[in-house]
Amino acid sequence: MDIESIIRKTLLEVAEMADCTLVDNIDEHTVLLQSGLDSLGFAMLVAQLEEDLAIDPFSEMEMAVYPRTFGEFVAVYRQSLSQRD
């Protein structure tokens, strides 16, 4: 499964766990803060991805980076995975 599919699947699981209702048709331009997941939900998403993929791109970065859109979020993970390989 590619990283975008993994993130999408995890996003759905975490949204349910966090009692959040996601907007329909999340695409790369969807602004994360308007996706329906709250900030605690995003913390859970990062935590679940860290457990599953053994990476935490946000801690690995030298500078604080906060992706604005779903596309940027996926890109951060894609880049981190490519650096690991």
């Binding site: 859970m44 935590a47 679940q48 860290e50 935490d56």
Partner: protein, 247 residues
């Protein structure tokens, strides 16, 4: 299933008392991950005692001054032992001395171990708690955070910081079933307070309504209470255990 509790500064004083009470608790079975810079004889003895039964005590050596290693330490803990139920941030440095002559390196070390390390440990161990939708973070403060004490200004600043941190974090993670509280002991006779002796010590005892100092076991009992199901509705607060000294 046993509940996994991470305790920092576990080799002596209050940390050791907490580890002992956790292992002896009969109503809830706790597994303990004891983090300490060095292994004290007492901790080694406990390790021996609990390694013969069902290995409920694991000791990890770590120097919390090395802040850059904390994430890896947390990742290893979760990978090797599973998601923790609770984190007890107990490790602390207690240099005393007037600020005007305290070396900058000591100020730096104290704030790293007493403030930044617990914040980073909370950050990384909170994540598995969020996924479990249940957890406890207990930060060991001190009555000094509010009362102040001659020669302990930096220590007091670090404990006040920990309390402020706890109140805000409690608001942040309450929705996920995680509680965050502080236990603020008064003067206890531990290695850290060795410098409080003689007349000064007697005066602290005399002024206490109970006519004694709180013991590490008294403070550890408050920690055990906060870990229990009965404390489900308690978050964002400080439990003072000081034999009434600050009443």
């Amino acid at each position: 299933m046993n509940k996994l509790v991470v305790v920092t500064g576990a080799s002596r004083g209050l940390g050791l008392a907490i580890v002992k009470q956790l292992l002896k608790h009969t109503v809830i079975k706790y597994d303990v991950l004891a983090i300490s810079r060095s292994k004290s004889d007492e901790l080694l003895q406990l390790e021996e005692e609990y390694s013969t039964s069902d290995k409920r005590l694991h000791i990890l050596n770590a120097d919390l001054l090395k802040l850059n290693n904390i994430q890896a330490l947390c990742t290893k803990m979760v990978k090797d032992y599973g998601r923790p139920y609770a984190l007890i941030n107990n490790a602390a440095l207690g240099f005393d001395g007037v600020l005007a002559t305290m070396h900058n390196s000591q100020i730096d070390e104290l704030l790293s171990v007493n403030v930044q390390a617990p914040i980073l440990l909370s950050k990384y161990l909170l994540r598995p708690m969020l996924l479990n939708r249940k957890g406890r973070i207990i930060n060991i403060s001190s009555i000094i955070a509010k009362t102040g004490f001659n020669g302990l200004s930096v220590y007091a600043a670090s404990k006040a910081a920990l309390e402020g941190f706890s109140f805000s974090l409690a608001r942040e993670v309450g929705k996920a079933g995680v509680t965050v509280n502080c236990v603020a002991p008064g003067y206890m006779q531990t290695d850290m307070t060795q410098s409080l002796q003689g007349e000064k010590l007697e005066s602290v005892k005399r002024r206490s309504p109970l006519g004694r100092l709180a013991t590490p076991d008294d403070a550890a009992s408050a920690v055990l209470y906060l870990l229990s199901e009965e404390a489900n509705a308690i978050t964002g607060t400080v439990i003072t255990v000081d034999a009434g000294s600050t009443a």
